[in-house]
Symmetry: C2
Subunit: 491 residues, 2 copies
């Protein structure tokens, strides 16, 4: 079992975890009910995977609590027995943050899925962490309200996971990330203690900002059991332009031109030709302008139709002046949906192409042309295929490197040197190794490329302060040597 693996982390400490015994299973059943304690192999396989490439780890047990009190009791049990606990949301993560790399307990928050309150008056909502992001968005939309963070997985990802990963999405370029919507949290400490970080307040500076420390901490410091989120009025007008370009470089430079013109895009996405080809294959139909070398998807929104339309005209002109071959307007909801369908399927579409590793690079927005040039040079040097697309307005480009060999070891040997070279390009441009997917276990080895030793030591000290036993989501975020993934059937 993976829990038998003992691996020292870089500080030489030994996560000396105990195995999950039959007594612990019984205690878990007493807490959540036998129906919600899963120990059969198909369940363990399912709870040992997320959307991160081909990684697979086996938990010893998965539990599905339905209240803060149950989460607290599970953590008290795990704390007492020194058993690792890996919190899990929708399992849509892209950096292995929900994978039980040291075995132990997977604690899935999917049953805690109540929207406790939508406070129209104060434009806030209180939710349990198991609410599906898209469900929350739909519910608040019915009241004319908007929750902007929209990762591509918003039909299945959970708010708790979004908070753990500080999830982004296309509309962050105007509206900010998950962190910008978290007002306060209720959470459970590794030892089972429950705390709140604040209330339904727009301003509150009483003590350290624990809310913001927990957002993006990937479930390594505490388990979020309730969130108070900010909402905004739903924009009443939305317009999308698709602009094809005959070179990736021209498209990347057009993004710079949009910024220079002080247009405020609600989304500003870049897709290159190889990604469009993958989308056509995935969707089984033609997509607009798929012969272009690159496309920009620019969205504008607002509360005054005439004002949005004026900005739209200006944006179209800027794109054409910057070299766009066309500026195709999606002026109906159906046309807008179609353009976004193409953009949103890219993750899945690329995945179907081949075995791949995704580099979630981000650079200062005006360095995107340099990043893309550097990526192409790396691909040429290492003789591999790459597909890039993403939130160019934020400087956040998802670079996928691909191989046709599905074997994990071959994939690693072929692609890993190119991944390292791409991160070297990104960090040399002042960028980061992850713009929105998180560090998890798949990127932690690269953390020292974009964070200095003092900052990493501070993070480690914070982790130790919250979790001196190191039982909560071990092997994530901080550089740690973790066991190799298991090979299971076709995984």
């Amino acid at each position: 079992m993976p829990s038998a693996v003992r691996v020292r982390d870089q500080d030489g400490r030994m996560p000396d975890f105990a195995p999950v015994t039959p007594d612990i299973i019984s205690a878990l059943e007493a807490i959540v009910g036998a129906d919600y304690v899963l120990t059969l192999e198909p369940d363990l396989l399912r709870y040992g995977r997320d959307e991160t490439e081909d990684l697979q780890y086996l938990p010893e047990v998965a539990v599905r609590p339905n209240s803060t009190e149950q989460v607290s009791m599970i953590m008290k049990l795990a704390w007492t027995h020194n058993v690792p606990v890996t919190p899990r949301g929708g399992g849509t993560g892209l950096s292995g943050g929900a994978l039980p790399v040291f075995g132990g307990i997977v604690l899935c928050i999917d049953r805690m899925n109540e929207i406790i309150e939508i406070d129209e008056m104060n434009m806030m909502t209180r939710v349990q962490p198991g609410v599906i992001t898209g469900v929350l968005q739909d519910q608040v939309a019915e009241l004319g309200l908007y929750y902007p963070p929209d990762p591509a997985s918003n039909g299945s990802c959970l708010i708790g996971g979004n908070i753990a990963e500080n999830a982004g999405g296309p509309h962050c370029v105007k509206y900010g990330l998950t962190k910008d919507y978290v007002l306060s949290l209720e959470a459970v400490m590794p030892n089972g203690d429950v705390f709140r970080t604040g209330g339904k307040l727009k301003k509150d500076v009483a003590g350290y900002n624990l809310s913001q420390l927990l957002v993006g901490s990937e479930g390594t410091l505490a388990i979020v059991t309730e969130a108070t989120l900010r909402l905004i009025p739903m924009p009443t007008t939305r317009r999308t332009i698709l602009a094809p370009f005959d070179s990736l470089d021209t498209a990347a430079k057009a993004i710079v031109a949009v910024y220079q013109s002080r247009i405020i895009p609600a989304a500003l996405e870049l897709v290159e030709k190889a990604a469009l080809a993958a989308a056509e294959e995935h969707l089984g139909r033609a997509v607009p302008y798929s012969d272009a070398e690159a496309q920009i998807l620019l969205e504008l929104d607002g509360y005054d139709e005439e004002a949005v339309d004026r900005e739209l005209m200006r944006a179209g002109e800027v794109l054409l002046e910057a070299g766009a071959l066309d500026a195709m307007l999606a002026d109906t909801p159906a046309k807008t949906r179609e353009l976004w369908t193409v953009r949103k399927c890219l993750g899945e579409a690329v995945k179907k192409q081949a075995a791949y590793i995704e580099c979630d690079t981000a650079v200062p927005p005006d360095r995107v042309p340099d990043l893309l040039r550097g990526v192409r040079e790396v691909a040429a040097e290492y003789g591999i295929k790459q597909i890039s697309y993403g939130h160019a307005g934020d400087g956040n480009i998802h670079v996928n490197v691909l191989t046709n060999d599905p074997d994990h070891a071959v994939r690693e040997a072929t692609l890993r040197p190119a991944v390292l070279a791409i991160f070297e390009v990104a960090t040399r441009l002042g960028g980061t190794i992850t713009g929105e997917h998180g560090v998890g276990c798949s990127q932690s080895r690269y953390l020292p490329m974009c964070r200095d030793a003092v900052a990493i030591a501070a993070m480690r000290a914070i982790k130790d302060a919250f979790d001196p036993k190191g039982i909560l989501n071990p092997g994530k975020v901080l550089p740690t040597e973790v066991p190799p993934p298991v090979t299971v059937g076709s995984a």
Copy 2:
């Protein structure tokens, strides 16, 4: 000397600090130059005060470094000798955050006042912490850019202090607080180690969000030596409405009506009659509608003049329907400035009235009417005068309780029970003890009213992780027994 005072904090730990010896003074002079090491009494008096009521503490020495390296060397020296260090910005704080309550070294960052870069393209700026907020705002405005956080003191407060306190201001209701503009920081640890939290990036989730942990930590975890801040395009249209009301309650309810109508105010301020009277006295002239029981100041802004004007008409109607006696439009920059002059002088104006204590309450915005009702009940019960005004759109109301006796002890005895009662009202409504002024040393005793014991223990563990010796800004944020202020001349 205050540094001789030895006081245990609530955990029974003893801040066993060493005094500042002549050798330490010499070492400080070697680091920053003799001109920037201040030991004369008038200097020590000045560096021992901020804008917090009548508090006065004496440092043993004040130093004014001009580089990150100098800050690092000062901290290494203090760390080695176990001397407390209190970082100081513009000295405009309202919770005693910059007061050297245990003596030692005051480290003032005012000479580190360079705007290193204004990156128009990426709409970011890199600044040293000693830049005056208003100076930065003016400089970026020349390029059509906007840095929204605008505490009333923005003519003299420093960006470093704003970051330490997570400063707010009237425009936060639309644009967010200081934290929403901090992209990354360079900072010096208590032991002198220097680190960076990231780069010029709009998205970066590599590890724990140390930037957001430092924002609002009041200089207790590390000293910020450089900040990368986000800018936005400067709104091209700005309109302000002044709406007088014949009752405070009606005015407070009108704010709720503004929200219900989904208007997005750029500022939404509430001022009650007693504050207007104080403003007239302070300015030495009449102010508009000073006979009204309360006034609302509502500002709208945007990038499309027609759209802003349409929203303005709607806002005027909402206010009149909600009971406003008038909706007076400031449609020129001069008229707008005049309305804001009145609003922005209130802090100073109230201060001149009498000895006072300010309660920086914040509640969910729709509870402002309940808060104001509760405050009036407390004032009646304790037989004291109160003056309330503030950022009602954010639920952040500055409640001042006043006495005519300037003696510190009398002020404490008369007003302190009312302060406690007002915080009880605020927290019963789901509110906090500080919306934007910080905890410092003046509010730390109240922290347990709005943060539970587990959260406070987590904060204490974070403090210990960063500063195991407790030398950096001791006696702040976390509940700690501090020595009484010194009485010096007329202070």
